[in-house]
Amino acid sequence: MSDHEFTPKSKFGKWFNDRLPLLTLRNHLTEYPTPKNLNYWWTFGAILTFCLIAQIITGVILAMHYVANSGLAFESVEHIMRDVNYGWLIRYFHANGSSMFFLAVYIHIFRSLYYGSHKSPRELIWVIGMIIYFLMMMTAFMGYVLPWGQMSFWAATVITNLFSAVPFIGDSITNWLWGGFAVGSPTLTRFYALHYLFPFLILGLVILHIWALHIPGNNNPIGIDLKHSSKDKVPFHPYIVIKDLYALLIFLIIFAFFVFYSPNLLGHPDNYIEANPMVTPNHIVPEWYLLPFYAILRSIPDKLFGVIAMFGSIFVLVILPWLDTSKVRSAIFRPLYKQFYWFLVADVLILGYVGAMPAEGLYLLVARIATAYYFLHFLVILPVLGAKEKTLDVPLSLTEPILGGSPNESVIKKREEI
């Protein structure tokens, strides 16, 4: 990389850059060599960055009008929707933005799983990513409490009650979380403070995430190593910038359909009922993006083990780089892994579906099987595949298949898929 050879053109630029190398940074980001065979699944990093910035901007604006007190919160949200100029737009953008943020993060994660972006030398990028994901879930959970509807209140009650499962000190922990003996105004105000804080922690971690990425450079669909100086790479600006912009615009069209035409489709009607500690809703459900974890939690009959299973399901993701032992990165060259990958996708969708259903009868049985399979995939199938799978031959360069020197017909077929 030629970061150290960059000199700013203007005198002021040189003076400034000597003291704070922002222009060097800008130059690096502009020229950053990116594989030219990246497909559209690689655009979700940029889409996620947009989502984070958009949520922060709309969130700070909402914070100018929202009141975090249990007697006034619901009313302040209605005030935003009715009286604040464009308040309805900013609120619907922020609420649906949360869903779009998670849609993008799931696509981003599943892209990693398919193409092996979590493997060496990118393990830390993955781990930082998992921390970001966990913080996102906490932020979303706390954000959902703020409107103080029935779902806000009861989701807060159910999830904070989980901590009472901890032996001996469980009740002390929940009272500490609540700031009282049940979810109430103190809980709301502290959730508000933390909901405002966490996105900035996420922002810092995103910077580390990108920095860690820029050391080895991006992975690519065929999963081979490419040198930074490779002819198979293009400068980030303008080639990747414009591709990311195009993908972002498509994403925004979908986003716009939700915000302007079905703003409450992904929400729950019960959250338009003011929180009532005396009346429990018939079916307490979290937002759709937390449903798979909810299903796992409810599939274990024991409270403590349910909590352990739920956190465990996130933990196995964190240690994935050490569970997936295959030397081959991309699923394109791993026919067996590819099958199991799609089984995992189906499994997670099934978990999400049963998470929205009552935890009884056939739904509960399916949830249990799906939970067991989820852990089986990460703890058993992946290590076994790593050791036993017969992978296809991986090409040595991007252009090799094109120049006809490919030793393997299946590689040419795979190239069509790229």
């Binding site: 604006i61 100018m64 005030h79 009715r82 009286d83 604040v84 100029n85 464009y86 308040g87």
Partner: protein
């Protein structure tokens, strides 16, 4: 292959994209800025109607309008005469009394000292009007600054008599 990037750079498609993009950025920025403007519930309180039927001559009431105090004083003939007698050349901020009180009996003005915003006290001061205790500004029976650091007279808001018993301010 043509590598004459310099001519390609000004291609129409790029210019059109940039132009349309700028429009989009502006359209997105506006709601984010406008949301800080007074909202509908605040604008609904932009004018206040005040019942003045109970105010006797020589009496003042103070009402809240747009979050600030407004003095409404029903002046005595004495106070009106004193206000009209004043030579404009003596005033730091020359204003005729009839311009400040169209109906001379009724004086309506913001109870906010034009120096640094304290609320002046009525029936005090050396000019028979108001006195601001913060830094010693004296206002006369027409609310005009006569002595002290305040630069201008007490502000007269837009108001009108809806009927003989009601004033609408704002």
């Amino acid at each position: 292959m043509a590598e004459d990037k310099k001519t390609n750079r000004r291609d129409f498609i790029f210019t059109a994209s940039y132009a349309l993009g700028a429009v989009g950025v502006g359209a997105v920025a506006w709601p984010l800025i406008d949301q800080m403007n007074p909202d509908a519930s605040v604008k609904a309180l932009a004018s206040t109607e005040v019942d003045i039927s109970g105010v006797e001559r020589g009496q003042s009431i103070t009402v809240l309008w747009r979050g600030k105090p407004v003095f409404i004083r029903r002046r005595t003939d004495d106070e009106i005469a004193k206000a009209k007698e004043v030579d404009l050349k003596e005033l730091k901020h020359p204003e005729k009394d009839e311009d400040r009180a169209k109906n001379p009996e009724w004086l309506v003005m913001l109870g906010v000292c034009t120096h640094l915003g304290c609320v002046p006290l009525g029936d005090k001061g050396e000019y028979g009007g108001w006195f601001c205790p913060c830094h010693g500004s004296h206002y006369d029976t027409s609310g005009r600054i006569r002595k002290g650091p305040a630069p201008t007279n007490l502000e007269v808001p837009k108001y009108e008599f809806v009927n003989s018993n009601t004033i609408k301010i704002g």
